[in-house]
């Protein structure tokens, strides 16, 4: 079965506007505007089982349904393209090959939600993706698929780009809203949730690039078709996996939801790099727990990975081999989070550097047995932080202490890193 997200891709260049249309592009928009009510579009998204592809996996249609229908004043849609989760590069690859699925998906989402004006929030460094989108928006406007009175209907939709200046926390949806408004991007208190009170105080939906790019195929082929793309009943649709670390080919691929972890590594990634042996991986970007060799047969979908004690997250798979010290890997991850903390709340601002220091000590062979308890305590304390950054940072640490406690202890007993000569 043809998967929706990469099917228009050309190997060496972005698909053109004409090619996208010849291959059925913007037909979903035509279908929706000519024969579906906004509520029907929303229902199709609910029925499809589509869940947020940015990392949290929240059901997209349900998120849309939180927007109060009757509130007066403008409402907003924001596409989150602040892809800064280490190991995650799927949205960049998607947009560098094809900006049109996102444009069409956002237009459909605007129609379903009654949004007149939408934004794409793009991280620094994704200039090529932004350029593709800018060009695509201009082409769609010229063809009457965006802007005033789309396809001769009564619906007008504008799409603007916001180019950010680099900071991980901007991917948190309330921080993103502050950033877009030109305020310091600290996260906001929830509730009220953005669906009720978001951008400029209006109801706001924030969805990931991959999430929105799936909408045209759902509308064109129906929710049942989309659900059926997954390999297992728990999943729905396809998933982009961006793989890095110790694999032969570090690629971003679209696979049916529910594809087993080992098949991703042995299939499109060509197995492990240079005959190395798999030790563990982080399945969904930096803020997810390790999966180990016993999980290689695990179907990669939200529920199944959660049951196995980790998260599908963004689908950014980082593969470690037996030569990698996972204390040092976790230290690298915590260092990232400590640096990217916005400093707003104390547990995150003070806790992350403290955890980092302890891991540094253990890695340097100066750890003590009591450090294990201190680390575990902090996993608990950091859950009291204001937003999800610090709890996310604790996920790999929790995984380290759960799956590789022996390796941590070996550092302490031997007073050195056992993986360093």
């Amino acid at each position: 079965m043809e998967l929706p997200l990469f099917r228009h891709n050309r190997p060496d260049r972005p698909v053109t506007f004409e090619e996208y249309r010849e291959e059925g592009g913007f037909e979903a928009l035509r279908k929706a505007l000519s024969g579906m009510s906004p509520a029907e579009v929303q229902q199709a998204v609910i029925d499809s089982g589509l869940r947020g592809r940015g990392g949290a996996g929240f059901p997209t249609g349900k998120k849309w349904s939180f927007v109060p229908r009757e509130l007066p004043g403008p409402r907003w849609l924001i596409c989150n393209c602040d892809e800064m989760e280490p190991g995650t590069y799927k949205d960049r690859v998607l947009l560098e090959h094809n900006p049109y699925s996102l444009i069409e998906g956002m237009t459909l989402a605007c129609y379903a939600l009654g949004v007149r004006h939408a934004f794409v929030f793009i991280r620094k460094g994704y200039e090529k993706a932004a350029e593709n989108l800018g060009r695509g928006i201009a082409q769609a406007k010229k063809a009457g698929l965006l802007g005033e009175k789309i396809l001769g209907s009564e619906h007008s939709i504008d799409l603007d780009l916001h180019l950010s200046a680099g900071r991980y926390i901007c991917g948190e949806e309330t921080a993103l809203i502050n950033a877009l408004e030109g305020r310091r991007p600290n996260p906001r208190q929830k509730p009220p949730f953005p669906a009720v009170k978001g951008l400029w105080g209006g109801p706001t939906v924030v969805n990931n690039v991959e999430t929105l790019a799936n909408i045209p195929a759902i509308i064109a082929n129906g929710p049942g078709w989309f659900k059926g793309l997954a390999l297992n009943p728990e999943g729905a649709g396809s998933k982009l996996f961006s793989v890095s670390g110790s694999v032969a080919h570090r690629v971003c691929v679209e696979l049916p939801m529910g594809t087993p972890l080992g098949e991703i590594i042995d299939g499109p990634c060509g197995g492990m790099l240079g005959g190395r042996t798999f030790k563990a991986c982080i399945p969904g970007g930096a803020s997810t727990q390790f999966l180990t060799a016993e999980h290689l047969k695990l179907p990669m979908d939200f529920d199944t990975v959660a049951k196995a004690g980790s998260r599908l997250g963004s689908g950014g798979i980082i593969v470690f081999d037996q030569g990698h010290c996972l204390v040092e890997a976790t230290l690298n991850l915590i260092t990232f989070f400590a640096r990217e903390s916005c400093g707003w709340c104390t547990p995150c601002r003070e806790g992350l550097p403290f955890v980092k220091e302890i891991l540094q000590r253990i890695e340097a062979g100066r750890g003590e047995e009591a450090d294990l308890g201190i680390l575990r305590e902090h996993i608990r304390y950091l859950n009291y932080s204001f937003c999800a950054l610090a709890p996310g940072a604790m996920a790999p640490l929790e995984g380290l202490l759960r799956d590789f406690e022996d390796e941590v202890r070996e550092h302490i007993v031997k007073k050195r890193c056992p993986l360093k000569a």
Partner: protein, 157 residues
Amino acid sequence: MIPETLKNSLKARIAAAITAREAAVDVMKELQAHYGWLTDEAVEEAALLLGLSPLQVEELATFYEMIYRRPVGKKVIHVCDSISCWCAGCDGIIQHLKDRLGVGLGGTTADGMFTLIPCCCMGMCGDSPAMSVGGTPYGKLTPELVDRILEKERRQG
């Protein structure tokens, strides 16, 4: 003082925004491109254009990774030290950059050409280790490739 043409284009950008401060990041970027870094003068000018206080601009400027509130070299090198690049040996690449440039992290070369700054994930994990030089991304770095890139970037000025 910024030239009148730049001032007018910034005013037009702000006028096109739904609220003025929504354009703050764009304005800071443009002023930084003009001055080479976001000078104290630029902060004042941005504040005036955006209808904010200088402190409000300052709290934005200090938040973003790509806004420089201190003088930097002509081209800033952002070298990724996140997990995928770590797997691919970024520690060695960063050491090589330090040695070649004769600076530590945060330092600027004696000729004022390069400033070396570590950065978080660039979304180039498939091509790690990665860095960007003056905004141009480079991946699959080796010490030899780094040397060639530095030479090319220096020659291009």
